[in-house]
Symmetry: C2
Subunit: 259 residues, 2 copies
Amino acid sequence: MNVFIVHAHPERRSLNGALTDIAVDTLTGAGHQVRVSDLYAMRWKSAVDADDFGAAASSPLDVVHDSGRAFETRALTADVLAEQEKLRWADTVILQFPLWWYTMPAILKGWVDRVFSYGFGYGVGEHDETRYGDRFGEGALEGKRAMLSVTVGGPGSHYSDRGINGPMDDLLYPIQHGILYHPGMEVLPPFVLYRAGRLSAEAFADAAEQWKERLLTLEDTDPVPYRSQNGGDYEIPAVRLREGLESPGRSGFGLHVRG
Amino acid sequence: MNVFIVHAHPERRSLNGALTDIAVDTLTGAGHQVRVSDLYAMRWKSAVDADDFGAAASSPLDVVHDSGRAFETRALTADVLAEQEKLRWADTVILQFPLWWYTMPAILKGWVDRVFSYGFGYGVGEHDETRYGDRFGEGALEGKRAMLSVTVGGPGSHYSDRGINGPMDDLLYPIQHGILYHPGMEVLPPFVLYRAGRLSAEAFADAAEQWKERLLTLEDTDPVPYRSQNGGDYEIPAVRLREGLESPGRSGFGLHVRG
C-alpha cells in the first residue's frame, strides 16, 4: 500500500512530529511505501494568488475558473503538481496536524486551497439541473482512503456531545466530508489525542500503541458511512437529503452519515 | 464607532472587494471611523513559526507557551502587534472572505493563528478545576461586536437544514463561536451571499442594498445569543452544558445558543 502523510507542525521535535515518525516507521516496517510532505520544512506557500495559475491567470483574477484552466493546461506551479501526483500515487492519505482554533493550521488549509484545484479537488463531472458534479463519493480521488490524526490541547469533555466546543465529529465534518470525501476518498474515523500538551510518558506510550494499531489496520477499518451524493439519497440540484431517510433524532451534519 | 475590516481575497476587483468598498463608503459616510487590513495587499504571513516569538521562542518550539511569553514581553512581531492594536481600537470587527473548502481562506486562518496569541485570543484568566479561563463571553475583546461577511459559490439549498454541506450556521460555528466569541466578542448574524460567481447586475444591486442596511444597523442588531461559559450554564471544568437547559430537539453546536 502507498501511504501519503501530510504533516503540518512547525516543530519536528513535537508530539505531531513523533506521531509522524511512528507512522513512517510502523508502515515502512509493515512493508508499505510511505511519502511525507512536511509542509513547514517545504516552506509551503499558503495563499492562493495569480502566481498559482501562470499563463492561465486572468485579470481580474477569477480563482475558480483560472484554477480550472491552469489544471487543464498543466499551468499550475511545480509544488502543486507534485502534491497532486503524490495524491494520485497514494492508496491512503493521512493528515497529521494540531487543532488550532477548531480546525487545521493555516499552512495545511493553504495546502488544500492550492492543491485541490478546480478539475481535481472540485469541479469534476457535469454540473447541471440533473447532476451536480462527481463529488461526495465520486471524483478524482475515488477509491482511496483518508484519515485525520489530530492533537488537541483541551480535554475530551470540551469536545463531547454537550461540550462547549461542539462534538469533535462535527468540528471535523467540514474537513472529513467537505475536503476528503468531496473528491471521492473514503474517510476512516479520526485518531484524536486530547490534552496533547500534558501527556505523561505513560500516556504517550499508550497513545503510541493505539496509533500503531490504527496504522496497522488502515486497510481493514470501516470508513465513516457518508452518503454518496449521486446514489439516490439527495434531491438534485438542491442536493438536500430526501425526507425520511435519516435515523430518528439525526440533524445537521449527522444527516449525511448513514444508519 | 470604530470599525475594523479584515479583508481576505486575492483580487481587489472582485465581489469581496466590492463588499469591502461598500462597507468603507457606507460606514465612513455615516460618520464612523474605519480601518481595513487587506491581507493579500499586506502580504500577510500565514504560518505560525519560531520567528513569531522572537526572544521568547524556545527550542524545541512550544507554540502555546512561547506565544504567551512573547505576548507578555512584547516580543511578538510588529505585524501581529499592529493587528492586536487594531482589534483593541475597534468597536466592531468585520471579517470579509470567500468560503473556500467550507471555511476561511488560509491567509485569514493565518491571521487568526498568529494574531490571537496566548494571553490575548486565548489563555486569559485562571484555568483550574473551578474556572476554565475568561472565554466564551469574556476575555480581551469583551464588549466588542463582530460579524462575518461571506461569499459562497454554491446555492443556499446546499447549505440549508438538509443540504449536503451542512447548515451554514453549523459551518460558521467554529469561526463565530470558536474564534470570535471565544475572546469575548458578541457575534452578529452573518451576511452570506450565495452563488457569488453568478450574480446578475440586478442581484448584485439587491445584495449591495442589503449589505448597506446591515452596515447601518450594526449597533442595533441583536447578536447570536451564545451562552456565556461562566454564567452558570456549564459544568466546570468539563465545560459541558448542564442537562435540561436546551430547547427540545437542539443538539450539537445548537446547544450553545440560548432559546
